[in-house]
């Protein structure tokens, strides 16, 4: 119970810090809107390809916009954490008698909040431009929960980068690491229509399975055979990354 209370204090502090930087929030929402603008309208013709699974390209794209936003949020997380390490704020927390785990929880919880805010904002933009969610309200909720978990998992990657390297250079450029995770997917084109090494690489990327599941819920509804693999991959990846982040964090703070 004490851990929960302590992590709430730290979470509220992190939340205030985030809200005190409105540019970051506006940029997050704006980047999603820009995705639709750049890729949605101009690439609309792709739906005409034989075998393309959706009639509405904007709807097809929505999963990509959401997943990409949460994947790259891992890099933001790394920067947020590194800023606190560099300023000595993390030391200040470590000097207090709070449980180390509370600090970690408060940090991961803000990652989750940022992911939720971003996903909800994208869903609002999507609805505004006429995307229909075939999975219904439950589908929307499932998408929010799943991608938030993905956001936390990516936040863990960010945390490991920040704690391990403690380097601004590396952390600022950590988006490079997230790029293959986000782009080696069927984000723009279904896997069946992709060929060669790219198709092979896509098959190895865990984010791909999560993306497919999210997209299925959006464009087809509850088609379990496309959702279940993504569900397990998400669960497995999150468990491994949260475990690793906890380990790295303990190592760094002891």
């Amino acid at each position: 119970m004490l851990i929960l209370r302590e992590s709430t204090y730290i979470y509220v502090r992190n939340l205030k810090t985030w809200l005190a930087q409105p540019t970051m929030i506006v940029a997050a929402v704006l980047s999603s809107a820009v995705m639709y603008l750049f890729f949605g309208e101009p690439l609309r013709g792709i739906t005409g390809l034989p075998g393309f699974p959706a009639a509405d390209y904007q709807a097809f794209l929505t999963a990509m916009v959401i997943v990409m936003a949460v994947v790259f949020s891992g890099s933001d997380m790394a920067m947020v954490l590194l800023t606190d390490i560099m300023s000595g704020y993390v030391d200040k927390l470590l000097l207090s008698p709070v449980n180390r785990f509370s600090i970690l929880l408060g940090t991961l919880a803000i990652g989750a909040t940022r992911a939720i805010a971003q996903v909800v904002a994208i869903i609002l933009v999507a609805t505004a431009i006429g995307v229909r969610f075939e999975g219904g309200v439950l589908g929307i909720l499932a998408v929010i929960v799943a991608t938030t978990l993905l956001g936390v998992a990516m936040g863990c990657v960010g945390l490991i980068i920040a704690v391990r390297t403690r380097s601004v250079q590396v952390t600022v450029n950590s988006w490079l690491l997230f790029m293959p995770l986000a782009f080696l997917t069927s984000a723009f084109m279904p896997r069946e229509l992709i060929t060669g090494w790219f198709q092979f690489a896509v098959g190895l990327n865990p984010v791909e399975y999560i993306l497919v599941a999210v997209r299925t819920v959006i464009i087809d509804g509850w088609v379990w055979e496309h959702i279940v693999p993504g569900f397990w991959v998400l669960l497995g990846t999150s468990a491994v990354l949260i475990g690793l982040a906890t380990y790295e964090y303990r190592r760094a703070t002891n």
């Binding site: 730290i10 205030k16 030391d91 000097l95 207090s96 008698p97």
Partner: protein, 341 residues
């Protein structure tokens, strides 16, 4: 019953990954209610020691007890018992001053109402009541140190560790911090601070340890340390004389007979004498000169400073030592991937 010391350090050692030996076996004790200073140049091992005592950094060897708790056994109870303000400050620029204090209190387990009340009280104490609702990022250097100090006091710790609390501050802000610290110490708070400023150590600390290259060089009260270096120096300049021949030498011979004078020598315009106590020796010196019919234009007594103490024990001035390669920063630089000097 004898009170337990606030801090006991025995054989403390710290070697950073990479082999830099920051602390090379030091022992000291800080009694309860004491104002204890750790004096030394940059890279001497002061910050490393404070960080180990505050449980932020692990030690490589030795035994440390803070508030009668072994830091290896129960670091968390040590953290709850002490207040710490580090040189790197670690303030949250985006947070408002008062919010920072309240959160700090909550993290130490203080209830909401009490934390609010205490925050207001401390803002008042450190003279920041007017700016409690402003973001810390807008504070000046002196205000940042004061809010940091207030944060370290939220849970009313009995032991306070301060790492260079006034470095980089203007004289007015330094004085304000000094006064707060003196008040706290008068209320019974044990304070251990690190400093590279002789005047700070001299004014605040009842007892000092001088540290250089990770070793304790000497320890004692500022006055004992200064007395250990040598006596006071009395400088006399002579006034105009009709027939000066030989009279200075006569006076010198007479001075050397005085029991309070350890040694004396002539200078181009007078003489100097090294004595145990300048104040007590001055009248006798004047009388002797008067008997020798030597007019005195000026007499000055200089006491050895802590600078002289440092020079005496290390063979260097503390400022020269500063210019040495800074082992501590170098380690941090590697660790943080940036140069933190």
């Amino acid at each position: 019953m004898q009170r337990q010391p606030a801090v006991v350090v025995q054989g403390l050692e710290k070697t950073y990954p990479g082999g830099t030996r920051a602390i090379d076996g030091i022992d000291f004790t800080v009694e309860q209610g004491e104002f204890f200073g750790f004096l030394g140049p940059n890279g001497a091992g002061k910050t490393t020691t404070i960080k180990i005592l505050a449980t932020l950094l692990s030690k490589s060897g030795g035994h440390v007890e803070v508030a009668s708790i072994d830091i290896d056994e129960d670091a968390r109870s040590v953290r709850a018992a002490i207040g710490v303000a580090l040189q790197e400050v670690g303030l949250d620029d985006l947070s408002k001053g008062r919010d920072f204090l309240v959160l700090q209190g909550r993290l130490y387990g203080i209830g909401r109402a009490e934390a609010n009340r205490r925050a207001d009280e401390l803002l008042e104490l450190v003279g920041l009541s007017g700016v409690g609702k402003r973001k810390i990022g807008s504070y000046s250097g002196g205000m940042r140190r004061r809010i940091d100090l207030a944060g370290a006091l939220m849970h009313r710790p009995n032991i306070l560790f301060l790492d260079e609390p006034t470095s980089g501050l203007d004289p007015q802000s330094r004085l304000a911090i000094w006064e707060h610290l003196e008040d706290l110490n008068a209320q019974g708070v044990t304070i251990m601070l690190t400093t590279q400023h002789m005047d700070e150590a001299d004014r605040l600390c009842r007892r000092l340890a001088i540290i250089d290259h990770g070793r304790l060089v000497t320890e004692g009260s500022p006055s004992t340390l200064k007395a250990g270096v040598g006596g006071d120096v009395v400088r006399v300049s002579f006034g105009p004389m009709d027939s000066p021949d030989g009279r200075a030498d006569t006076a010198l011979g007479a001075l050397c007979q005085l029991p309070s004078v350890r040694e004396a020598d002539t200078t181009p315009d007078g003489l100097t004498a090294t004595v145990d106590d300048g104040g007590a020796a001055a009248p006798a010196i004047l009388r002797t000169l008067n008997d020798a019919e030597i007019p005195v234009a000026n007499l000055a007594v200089t006491r050895p400073s802590l600078d002289d103490v440092f020079l005496h024990h290390t063979g260097r001035e503390i400022r020269e030592a500063d210019a040495d390669e800074d082992a501590e920063s170098r380690v941090w630089g590697q660790w943080m991937g940036v140069n933190r000097r």
